[in-house]
Symmetry: C2
Subunit: 428 residues, 2 copies
């Protein structure tokens, strides 16, 4: 399949790159030309898209989510994290089946596509069904292991690591991880550390999301979560921390020394009253930051535009500094850094040889006018409404409000609704 | 013109009202039936809209904005308020003509319509041209007087008060106000207070937006801005404060005692690092709160969905309380309270006799699924993308992504761009 996208502005997201005009050519799932084509001979195209001077850029990478939690959207809001987890989330999740997760993940994928998200770092159970949902729709899903004391053995983790990293097309891949220090025994964490050593693989984990979590860990271990986990050898091959809101000096040092990514989830941290992560400080220390939506039960939406505005807006108030975290840094977090954090270096920029995971941004919406500064418009006034087209691995999955998937949105809504009804009934 | 909207879910926003199913009938600019019509005789309709089980609700009221500042969107970001005003905003504004304001206001109106905003409380110069933009497009604009030491006399204010409150259809109306304590002489403020007394009219003003503003006022007057302005007799007939971020105990008392509205602008307050308004405290004291986007130069977008999420999300973190400011309160602020703050009691709810300013929300977008709780979905996961139709005074101005106005969006963009180019050139 050969695709030509022409008459577009191009934001490659390569270091120091400016917006240029030209074309992007795609063969199967790979970009083969960016800019002004040198070739003069007429090619045969399977698909030609007139970009109408809109903006083509790499898709957003949602570097932390729990996709199938769509079923809990607006089910339990305005509650404290602990109460929320134990009285609402865990009992409802206990009733999920693999088939439920398949449809609930598909529901999340619909929303990712409307927000220009082309890959996710997904932490959830029933991985086989989550993978099926991604493959059937053509979506790119990097699983993050979430073993904890309620489920999973280190042997199963190793098996999954080998199974889900076999896919050469990389629609599906997998990274080592575990749920959190406070939900996982020392033995299991040591098991993960051993796997990390064996495969020279990075490790990802929820960390320092709430003040309580940090205090409890210090009581138990005498150390903060990042320092304690580091003593277990978990970060010898890098990895990342989801949230990283409540950090002490020693924690910043661990993150910096071990080359960890911070994946910030500002909307979820607001909604659950967890706090505001010190993103400006990470940035000043040269720590790479990626952005996640977190799951739809806590956020409640899967919208990279809302997250991007929050990433910079909250820092300005937190540090009393309107210059904090400029827009271009935020765009880099949402694209390039996200890709690298998830092990998707081949999906980071628009460049020959990279995967064709890209989005077309509608500049003909009033929130993008005038065109003083397109990158700033994206971060400060962009919205889902500006996503004209979402392409993953060279395939158009969403365009002008329509989905091009194996199931219709109506079918997905119906199946998701059925799951919700059943679980709520069982819950009574 | 008789319009029938059928097969819809209806959220009237009346106190204690639940979502019901039925129809809404409109004659000219007025709602004549809400719910299940009793009439059995067949009517003749000029327009029938199948709502397809989507949600009909009152349009959002943007209770603080500076519409024509669209020309400065993404022109000067990441700067401190004072520097931003004096080095970027004021010099550029000095070059505006009335014709510029006409087109720049139209650009803002396009964006309001995409966000389901049906009326605005607009503070800007060249009022005649702003009014022309609203009337030509069919948009509802309540002007807020912005006299200050750089322009305007009390006599002109009185003239405008009388001129812009003549419109019986109320597409255009006008409220007394002034820019801010720190930009307006005592004499002018006393002049406004006298007009307020003469016409028994409320007064609106930017107030306590930054810490600096409060400190400066205390140095000059020995009082905080709300207390000082109250001593001048400005609030004897109510009114409202835009921002109200940095408030002391005595300020809350003034607001409460004088029945003032607080118009909160959370995105602008983040972006300019002004702070987070104590919305939860206002709410607990029974002080009515409305929501504004502020102008597109500071925000930078005109999106009530982003504001609604911020109004509650920021409070949860500010007060370390995930239960702070529940979703239904936010929806009330964005609709009913906004209408009342702006003197548009006839546009507050869906009720027989009220003006037909209403919006149709697309529930068939993935961010609205499943339908556990539609009101919560609106506040926590809603987006501009969900606005299917915006009707003002019984006329459909925006539907399914298309505008139905006197000018095309292309013409508006072209004229706005022309203004921008000219001003930037003069600026050099």
């Amino acid at each position: 399949m050969n695709t030509r996208i022409y008459n577009v502005r191009i934001l490659t997201m390569e270091e120091g790159g400016k917006i240029t005009e030209g074309e992007v050519w795609i063969e199967d799932d790979t970009i083969v030309c960016v800019g002004q084509p040198k070739e003069t001979a007429k090619r045969k195209w399977d698909l030609e898209i007139d970009g109408k001077q809109n903006l083509l850029m790499p898709g957003f990478k949602n570097a932390h989510t729990h996709s199938a939690m769509t079923f809990l959207r607006s089910y339990a809001d305005d509650m404290k994290l602990n109460e929320w987890l134990h009285t609402r989330v865990f009992p409802a999740e206990a009733k999920l089946t693999g088939e439920d997760v398949y449809w609930l993940t598909k529901l999340a994928i619909l929303e990712y596509l409307t927000s220009g998200i082309t890959s996710i770092f997904d932490m959830y159970m029933y991985r086989k069904d989550g993978a099926r949902a991604a493959i059937d729709t053509g979506f790119r899903n990097v699983f993050c292991e979430s073993i904890n004391d309620f489920g999973g053995t280190v042997e199963e983790v190793e098996e999954d690591y080998l199974t889900y990293n076999k896919d050469k097309s990389k629609l599906i891949s997998y990274q080592l991880g575990f749920h959190a220090e406070y939900t996982t025994s020392r033995e299991k964490m040591e098991g993960i550390a051993a796997l990390s050593k064996k495969y020279a693989a990075p490790v990802y984990v929820h960390c320092s999301e709430t003040k309580q979590e940090v205090e409890d860990c210090k009581k138990r271990t005498g150390m903060t979560p990042p320092v304690y986990m580091d003593t277990l050898g978990l970060f010898e091959h890098g990895g990342g921390l989801f949230h990283g809101v409540h950090m002490e000096e020693a924690d910043f040092e661990v993150v910096k020394k071990k080359g960890l990514y911070i994946v910030t989830n500002p909307a979820s941290n607001l909604k659950l009253a967890s706090g505001i992560a010190p993103v400006k400080k990470y940035l000043n220390m040269g720590i790479p930051i990626a952005i996640g939506t977190d799951g739809p039960a806590s956020n409640n939406c899967l919208d990279m535009f809302r997250e991007m505005f929050l990433v910079t807006g909250l820092q300005k108030v937190l540090y009393d500094d309107p210059e904090a975290v400029p827009a271009m840094e935020v765009l880099k977090m949402a694209t390039v850094n996200g890709a690298h954090a998830m092990g998707l270096a081949e999906c980071d920029t628009l460049h020959v040889g990279k995967k064709a995971d890209l989005i077309l941004i509608d500049l003909e919406q009033p929130n993008m006018q005038p065109l003083h500064h397109i990158e700033k418009n994206l971060v400060y006034s962009g919205s889902k409404q500006n996503v004209k087209m979402t392409m993953i691995a060279g395939k158009v999955l969403y365009q002008n409000g329509e989905f091009y998937l194996d199931s219709s949105k109506e079918e997905i809504y119906k199946e998701a609704e059925k799951t919700v009804r059943r679980i709520l009934k069982e819950q009574e």
